[in-house]
């Protein structure tokens, strides 16, 4: 009975939060005299209305899934990775570099480019990991700093070595591209690409590492209780660094979604992409679980794409979606109290 209650809660909290978020969003529209009904109608249409929007929604969700996974993985291991944004940028650049400068058959080139992105992200994550493990430096502050370094460094590298007309790099070679004419065909020329497959694969990988392997066991143990882990002979420092590396790898992979999928090149970014920060919201709404994150990412991706139609059809500023998302996070976060209580005394609540 308790078990049912616990399980139910897991689903209930996010669902209720989303509904409440949309509800209050509607109220805000009412008081600022927009028509919520037509607005949300437009929003829905903007998400599912036609193949193009659907394609774009999925396209937008792919990097969100990965950045969500990155944040969640860190959360699960007791770390808060605000650095997804920076790890994403270096991953983006690395994948594009490989995409441009190598000449390989697709079967090798594409995986190579993706792995390069993941590796770069991992490297960017390792640095704060080491700083935390060895010097006890707060990972939140180092990852923030690393974000800025990534932003300016990638721009600097592009400008110095990879610049093409239009403030960007050259296009990657077709052999490294995730883009798929077929997918674009069936979605009326959206930018939908095979990245979604990569993202879902990554979600499976995270689930597997965390719950099925001894590595995951160690990572989670360290996340929950460093002293007990040490007592059990688990190398705490190593696992902190490893956790940041894996988290960073997911973030880097998110970058490849943009580099090899959506854009096929990297622009000089005047500001952060925001995908990294959205990842925090996604992982939270997804309760740090693989399936939840995929659903949450699709939701946020949909809201973002749908908001464009909401703007053009109902004239509601796209920012409203940002507000709704913020509200959703608040509700999910605040209901932690209840979930914590149920978990704590749930007979049979799994680890």
């Amino acid at each position: 009975m308790n078990l049912v209650k616990g399980r139910l809660f897991h689903i209930l909290v996010p669902v209720v939060s989303v509904l409440l978020g949309l509800l209050i969003g509607g109220i805000i529209m009412l008081v600022s005299n927009y028509n919520p009904v037509s607005a949300y109608a437009a929003l829905i249409d903007g998400i599912f209305g036609n193949g193009y929007n659907l394609g774009e929604t999925i396209r937008a969700a792919s990097p969100l899934i990965l950045s969500g996974l990155a944040v969640a993985f860190a959360f699960r291991t007791g770390l808060f990775n605000i650095g997804v944004e920076g790890q994403l940028l270096v991953g983006w650049l690395a994948s594009v570099y490989v995409g441009i400068h190598f000449d390989l058959p697709k079967v090798i080139h594409l995986p190579f480019a993706i792995l390069a992105g993941a590796a770069a992200g991992a490297l960017w994550g390792v640095i704060p990991g080491i700083l935390k493990a060895k010097f006890k430096v707060h990972e939140v502050i180092t990852t923030i700093m690393m974000n800025y370094i990534a932003l300016y460094a990638t721009n600097g590298i592009i400008r110095a070595y990879m610049l093409a007309p239009g403030e960007r790099t050259k296009d990657i070679k077709e052999s490294a591209s995730l883009a798929s004419p077929w997918l674009q065909q069936i979605t009326e020329f959206s930018r939908l690409h095979y990245g979604i497959v990569v993202a879902i694969l990554a979600a499976v990988i995270m689930w597997f590492i965390l719950w099925k392997t001894t590595t995951g066991y160690e990572l989670r143990a360290v996340g929950f209780n460093q002293h007990a882990s040490q007592y059990a002979g688990i190398n705490v420092s190593k696992n902190i660094v490893l956790a940041m590396a894996i988290s960073g790898a997911f973030a880097g992979a998110a970058g490849t979604m943009e580099g090899l999928g959506t854009y096929q090149y990297m622009t000089i970014n005047n500001a952060f992409t925001g995908v990294g920060f959205d990842g925090i919201a996604v992982s939270l709404l997804g309760a740090n679980g693989s399936v939840g994150i995929i659903i949450a990412a699709l939701l946020f991706g949909g809201l973002k794409i749908g908001s464009l139609t909401m703007q053009s059809a109902a004239g509601v500023p796209t920012e409203l979606v940002g507000i709704v998302i913020a509200l959703i996070i608040f509700f999910v976060a605040s209901s932690y109290l209840i979930r914590w209580l149920t978990n704590r005394f749930t007979k049979g609540g799994k680890i």
Binding site: P165, E167, E188, S190, T309, S312, T318
Partner: protein, 334 residues
Amino acid sequence: GKDDGGGSNADGKKDAFKVAMVTDTGGVDDKSFNQSAWEGLQKFGKDNDLKKGTGFKYLQSTSASDYAPNLNSLVRENYKLVYGIGFLMQQDIQKVAKQQPKAQLALVDSVVPEKNVASITFKEHEGSFLVGLIAGMQTKSNKVGFVGGVDSELIKKFENGFKAGVKTANPKAEIFVQYAGDFNKAEKGQAIANTFYGKGADIIYHAAGGTGKGVFTEAKNRSKNGEKVWVIGVDRDQHEEGMPEDVTLTSMVKRVDKAVEEVSKQTMDGKFPGGKTVEFGLDEDGVGIAPHKDNVSKDALAKVDEYKKKIQNGDITVPKTDKEYKTFESNMKK
């Protein structure tokens, strides 16, 4: 399908001419080219009594990844002409153009070699040359500065045109140049301006969007304290930004509005300049100095007119790139 988009549109007529634009993240009130593009579109709309929202409209992008969906949804809503504002949209315009051969697109500030895309560019260097002349004439300290947003091909046109102008009017003038690496960092603009003015410059020309705000801030502060320093605005007449301290010497205006209006007309008359590059320079009044001339001295204005002619007759060609500027400079020496 694509047709019902047209059929179900407000004024029913299937082939009613509809025109729209996609802004970059700046939005239609960025006090810059997005805004003047929208002004142009509105004027065109009024003149041909189109309804806002159905006859002509804009979509704002919240991030670079929105360009494509925005362009696309306008095309599928059957707009006969869709503008992309800003060179950042070049890639997306090209994609959409390829995917939707029937669509008619136009791109401002860059070139897309597709037969269903009209590319609109400006001779910013020529306009910058003119304000350069003014700066060269009116600097007391013989030191002037240029603040660029992001070091790029486009902004280089501003820089080199300006430098050429300054040197032409005042060969012994010293010119400081710095790029902020960012179009949206006011405090950087301010810090750079602070450095320039601190080093004795009394006129700064900025081509740095939001970063330029900082230049104005610094200039205002200094003129409050009795220093006589100037800013030269960009894209639109930035006289307002200079008030109340009145620090705007002049502005290099870039008539995106004219261009948009012009191209829209041509297209409506069935003369869509697809595959062509329409370049707006001094001849077409596409670029020039702001109407607000109170702070510009008589002989500076005379100089401007003199050289405007020279440029139009092709007596001199204004440099766009660093290389062209080098040769220009060496020719001057002789």
